[in-house]
């Protein structure tokens, strides 16, 4: 049975870009572990030679004409939901 240590949860949280405080780590680890233990029941199923199902429609290579259409929404309207905007651009904190 797989169980994740608080340290592993910390690593997963970093990958997921979610800050988990040290105080919360044990509780979060417990909860994620209870889910992981639950889904571990899959391991008993023999899946030798079974293909995977990643989608159920069977659709393949859905194409449409590559036609340019005018966007009905103005730049200002598109930017209206951004938390911070400057000179018509989205502003972010420094990257490095």
């Amino acid at each position: 049975m797989a169980t994740l240590s608080p340290k592993q949860i910390e690593q997963v949280a970093r990958l997921a870009r979610i800050e988990v405080s040290p105080q919360k780590l044990p509780k979060v680890a417990n909860e994620v572990n209870s889910i992981v233990c639950f889904v571990d029941s899959l391991q008993v199923v023999d899946t030798t030679g079974i293909v995977v199902t990643s989608q159920v429609t069977g659709l393949q290579d859905v194409w449409r004409e590559d036609v340019v259409k005018d966007c009905q929404i103005s730049r200002d309207d598109l930017l209206a939901n951004a938390p911070e905007v400057q000179d018509g651009y989205i502003k972010v904190k420094k990257v490095l």
Partner: protein, 475 residues
Amino acid sequence: MADLAYLSIAQAHEALQSGKVTCVELTQYYLDRIKKHDESIGAVLTLCSDTALEAAQKVDEKIQAGKDMGLLEGIPYTAKDMFLTAGVRTTAASKILDAFIPPYSATVIDKLNSAGAILIAKVNQDEFAHGGSTENSAYQITHNPWNTEYVPGGSSGGSAAAVAADFGIFSLGTDTGGSIRQPAAYCGVTGLKPTYGLVSRYGVVAMASSFDCIGPITRSAEDATLVLNAIQGRDVMDSTTIESTENHQSSKDLKIGVVKELMNDSRYSEALKAINGLGKKNDVTLPDGDMALAVYYVLVSSEISSNLERYDGIRYGSRNDSATNLEQTYSLTRAEFLGPEVQRRILTGTYALSSGYYDAYYKKAMQVRTLITQEFAQIFADCDVIVTPTTLEPAFKIGSKSDPVEMYKTDILTVSANLAGVPAISIPAGIDEKTGLPLGLQIIAAQGNDAQVLAVAEAFQKTTEWHKKVEEIIQ
């Protein structure tokens, strides 16, 4: 003015066309009803009074000009807050979208708008549709209109409660593992999860893309058919959509697979009698529910961890302002504004997809998904539809399920339809004597046989009265 309580689409259409009621009066009836009862139900997140009354006014002008109207024209409805609505706040019940005003609408909202239906409110749900009780909403608890101590189910709990409380004639919900059918069962209404791909998801907040389906919650199968007809079909903006299928009429030699070990329950004995009259029964067994749930929670959490990457505080949505660099903007924003269940699922999915665990979880679950889909194909080789209870028990009390895995198990009979992409409906089929709460019956068919599911549900409702019981709960 005519009695407007619990109108069907056809009844409302007739009342409007014949001038028994104006569309403004009809719309106002629902707005008043929300005002009077929503304090105790808590279904509504955003009310659209002004735009609804304006649209109603236009419908009235058309009627006065003597023009014929489409069936959905002037029909007031509500939509789960997962559907983008241009100019109307859309939160997915998350604080991370607290102030989000979409610049465009979902295809289904546009289609209903073109058909003349009137959106009167955006309704509550579990945050990002992660849950089975609507208790995971970041805004409010929604109460079951049958008994306000109980949950309405989820994640489309606001939609089911709104339809049960007559806050509109129908509602739109989303169903990833049972989120239309389970709340429909808990609230004594009808909820349809169509075949995967039948209804466009463009402009609907994504949860798990290989499962998510959109469908109507109504008070009858007849109304569900009318709404589905208006929203289904190929959409160039959603490349997973399929062509709508031809009507599949219910025939006399209908073969009904009954899940005996679940239906041999005294609470469903009357429903079973009604089923006897619909066709020839044979016994079937559903794919293992625990296994289906395990597959579901691996794949859904994985898809969630990927789909929810977009909530990063950059292009839209809430942002934590104490960050000093970009990476902190992401991690502090997501920690502050995503709820606990959403974070749990993202972390579980990130783990399942991470290097070294992919084969053990994600790949394994996709293989077991194949086995479950094959089991359905075998069942449908011998029968046209399967009937089973929608849930093992009726609605539970608010606050009574604090363990996430316990909550997941309320979807044990509904998830397998999502794994296989097949259509399924929940209709009222009894009352639990102990609690006085409604019980749902689920009807499942093979992919593309949505009309078959609806026809059987409609035939059931022609000979039974359980779907009418909801009319007695709020006077």
